[in-house]
């Protein structure tokens, strides 16, 4: 049995939640076993996980923090051949906690499904996307935390038998306050990211970047210098020491493309660079480029995309 932890937020699944079930299904198919999904979503809502390959769906009351959930899961994976957790902010705490408590073998930042299953061998990002590590999970329960958007969602019917379980394990933190911006696409799991840098000349010029992001349903991001001087919040800083992203499309406006920035975005499937300087290093990392003034190109791009969206 491959056990997959399926994250939900106020009884809503994220895209990475369904992807986690798809990941587990793919692994289980190679290993020749079933998939058990564990989630705190309501049974009614959780039943849809069968569409992505869950054979058993166990619902339970979960702790609030990643460390609390990791401790709970440790008591629920006794018969598992493997565990899958999406590499969300929460998953990045759950997976290592679970690995420590079960003396497991963990791969985080995993970018593909297992290449073999005995032992489990997977590829993961290392050196801030400047390298690809092939890692072998040799002894203990194999636990895989994958990068959201790495493999995508695939529909495949599972048996979908519903159960409810209980687990011990408690939070060691008191949660005082949680604030999540509504209506904005969260950067780490965004399919499209629109990012801008010092080429925009000042924080007052970000209106067109947000407009472009709106048209595309994209998340907004920025380069390190822009967050360091306070034009944009730290939480938007993409790069080696900021958030690492792997969207389907990354549009970089007025960012030169320093090696530290490229390290955070090079896993993107398609990269577009817009810059006045034809020698900007970003053009070496991009699939498409426009050498031109952002203040002329971006408004045109917004207009063209609106026309495209209206026609498609």
């Amino acid at each position: 049995m491959i056990v997959v932890f399926v994250e939900s937020w106020n009884n809503q699944f994220k895209k990475a939640s369904f992807e986690a079930v798809s990941y587990a299904r793919s692994w289980a198919n190679t290993a020749g076993c079933g998939v058990r999904a564990i989630t705190s979503a309501s049974a009614e809502n959780a039943s849809q996980l069968a569409q992505y390959g869950a054979d058993e769906i166990a619902t339970l009351e979960l702790a609030q923090t990643g460390a609390g959930i990791g401790a709970q899961l440790a008591g629920l994976v006794g018969d598992a051949q493997g565990v899958v957790v999406a590499g969300t902010a929460m998953g990045k705490i759950i997976a290592p906690t679970l690995a420590a408590l079960t003396s497991g073998a963990l791969s985080t930042n995993t970018t593909g499904t297992p290449k073999s299953t005995s032992p489990v061998v997977v590829e993961r990002g290392a050196f801030s996307s400047k390298g690809i590590e092939t890692i072998s999970l040799n002894s203990g329960l194999p636990i895989i935390s994958f990068v959201p958007n790495a493999i995508g969602i695939k529909e495949e019917a599972g048996a979908g038998v519903m159960t409810s379980v209980e687990a011990s394990g408690a939070d060691k933190l008191t949660t005082n306050d949680v604030s999540v911006a509504s209506g904005k696409v969260a950067l780490p799991e965004a399919e499209i990211v629109v990012s801008a840098g010092r080429g925009l000349k000042g924080p007052e010029n970000w209106g067109m970047i947000e407009e472009l992001a709106d048209v595309l349903g994209a998340a907004t991001a920025c380069s390190k210098p822009v967050s360091d001087i306070g034009w944009r919040p730290h939480s938007e800083h993409v790069g080696q020491t900021g958030i690492q992203v792997n969207p389907n499309l990354y549009i970089a406006v007025g960012i030169s493309g320093a090696i530290q920035h490229l390290a955070g975005v090079s896993a993107s499937k398609t990269i577009v660079a817009i810059n006045t300087d034809p020698e900007a290093p970003f053009f070496k990392a991009a699939d498409y480029g426009i050498v031109g003034d952002a203040f002329e190109v971006v408004p045109q791009l917004i207009e063209e995309l609106r026309a495209f969206k209206a026609a498609n």
Partner: protein, 247 residues
């Protein structure tokens, strides 16, 4: 107050990464090593706590003798003493066990790690240390206030922030925000001189390992960029739809 700051010895952020000919490991030739940037924010935060309320700061690294200059640099920046656990850090759970053993043999009120190291990007060790010791853990920590025997911490979560409280001791996986970029310090001459005589102890490591690196490779090189004239933005939209199927 006793603070432990765990630091990694990693290639500089501007380093070009190459692997050995057989692909088994990083090729360190020509690579400059530094204190992991995430850990540098943690070290500076520890210095702020020390200056505000008094503390002894121990810096710890799991690594071979070649990592000692990185520990000496942390001492020069202001840490009081250093510990090197003698092992090649190849497996997060083994590294975390070694750190756990050190913490159990010493009394720390606060353990600060960077949320991840920029070499293997595991983001595993801090949570594992907390789990082994049954201590409160805050990851992606961007704000920390210590009040006597308790702490409040601010963390980045997907799409927002959360605020937590707990009693000490605790483990923190920190990043920029613990302190700001402008707060980071470079060693001055006096710091470098005194660092030479500060204690640096070497301890033995926990053995074993649950995972092993099979090989390393560089990502496939991108093909040349397709440039679209600035007055034909519609062509870019067409390519994104028809060719790359991004929209």
């Amino acid at each position: 107050m006793n603070i432990l700051v765990c630091i990694s010895h990693v290639p500089d952020t501007t380093a070009k990464i190459n692997f050995t000919a057989d692909g088994s490991a990083l090729d360190p030739s020509g690579v400059q090593f530094v204190i992991n940037p995430y850990d540098e924010f943690g070290l500076t935060k520890a210095l702020h706590i020390k200056e505000a309320q008094g503390a002894t700061i121990t810096v710890l690294n799991v690594g071979g003798p070649e990592t000692e200059p990185t520990l000496r640099k942390a001492l020069a920046i202001g840490a009081d003493q250093a510990v090197r656990i003698n092992a090649t850090p190849t497996d997060a759970i083994t590294v975390a066990k070694s750190i756990k053993n050190h913490i159990q043999a010493n009394a720390y009120d606060l353990i600060i790690c960077g949320q991840e190291s920029i070499d293997y990007n595991g983001q595993e060790v801090p949570a594992m240390v907390a789990a082994f010791l049954d201590l409160p853990f805050v990851n992606a920590c961007v704000g920390l206030d210590i009040n006597g025997g308790s702490a409040t911490a601010k963390a980045e979560i997907d799409g927002g922030h959360a605020s937590y409280s707990c009693s000490l001791p605790m483990v923190v996986g920190g990043k920029k925000g613990l302190v700001e970029e402008k707060d980071l310090r470079i060693p001055n001459m006096r710091g470098i001189m005194t660092a030479r005589t500060k204690p640096l102890a070497v301890e033995e490591a926990e053995g074993g390992g649950h995972t092993a690196a099979v090989s390393f490779a560089k990502p496939a090189a991108k093909s040349a960029v397709k440039l679209v004239p600035a007055d034909q933005v519609n062509e870019l939209v067409r390519l994104l739809h028809e060719e790359s199927k991004s929209i």
